[in-house]
Symmetry: C2
Subunit: 214 residues, 2 copies
Amino acid sequence: MPTTRASFRSGAVIVSKDEELTRSAMILQGMAARSYPIVGKPDHHVITAIHIAGDFLDLKGFALGHLRYRVISMGPTSVEFVAHDELKKVIEDFPDLAHLLWQTTATDAAIHEQWLVAAASLRSTAHLAHLICELYTRQNRIGAAQGGRLTLPILQRELAEILGYSPIHINRAVRDLRDRELVRWLGAEVEILDWDELSKLARFDPQYLNENNL
Amino acid sequence: MPTTRASFRSGAVIVSKDEELTRSAMILQGMAARSYPIVGKPDHHVITAIHIAGDFLDLKGFALGHLRYRVISMGPTSVEFVAHDELKKVIEDFPDLAHLLWQTTATDAAIHEQWLVAAASLRSTAHLAHLICELYTRQNRIGAAQGGRLTLPILQRELAEILGYSPIHINRAVRDLRDRELVRWLGAEVEILDWDELSKLARFDPQYLNENNL
DNA sequence: CGGCACTTTGAGAGTGGTCAAACGTCGTGG
DNA sequence: CCACGACGTTTGACCACTCTCAAAGTGCCG
């Protein structure tokens, strides 16, 4: 299957909102964020998904034919593009692949639902803890995180856009986790000092990150 | 395709959390809610999706093989079940159907993302207004709502579980919308008195409810 | 008529937002 | 080597929003 590779630096736009949807992408290295603009407020965005290596970036674009969001590179990334025409051909030849991609979309949706549950039932500190637990679990599964350390090349402003708080309040949640000696911040990395306490605080249950995606 | 029909009364469990996933369901009449339990707190749930006539209830169960939520009947409903084995056969014969079901899952996910955006960017009154705008648009599209009236057979406690507030605060948001003369509550129906103001308050953009889902 | 469930209201407490300023840290240029 | 600016982080003060607990009001049904 013919593909195109590209690298992006931190903050670069990997998929723009209004671009023609002729291809989809998969992350090879690094992380990316799905970012929705807020209509009445320019310069204000909401991030609804975090992608790590192995994730498809805009499968929904392939299924639906349009995209309402941008995908931003978090830290440096390398990405592989596949033309939709090629993908269509391959799916016709291998119907199981279609089911696999469908599963990927469904897993994506399961994460969105879990984020909705977290937003409705957790307070800022626990909510932040939940995000850290999820990202560690996902990174650990693909071998990108071990020994309690995960990559988080992200500004506190972006954490605020993910969790729906102000940057200032995110700062307090970060400090709260630090003061409780649950995590330690090391630049673009986070070290989890007490997984049991952290996941208990976040009421984290990894079941929603089901195993069989890809 | 052999199917089974069933009717449910208000509050009945249509799909339970731990039941064996041998079939999927489609709503023929009425509305249903997808409800997640909160782990540490019994009797506390979060509703992450509302289904109306024509929607599939648990396609994700078909794609992923497990379900982490229940589906509750909101008001009386009538539902059609299809065995997964049958669905598999039909999909093999008509690959376009698989694509259609995938699209349905993707549209579902788009609604979840919009709910995340709304939760992060709207306050209680505007957030409630957004839900009303969405449900009216969806019901209107299938001919179930006209003349500014939509069906909402739902308790304020359940509105709270959808939007992530306490029932008491929902009550104040309802009163707020009423005091501004934007909507009127008529039992299980809501009449929209000023669509322009309501959708402006909610920053509602129906684009995410894309047309081509079934 | 009572009981029950839901809605409405009030008061106090806690959580989160906004504004403003101070504090690193890290390049760049003098 | 230091000065400077840009940018992100941290802190404080005050205000707005939402939660909790409690109690009263309303409608429905037995």
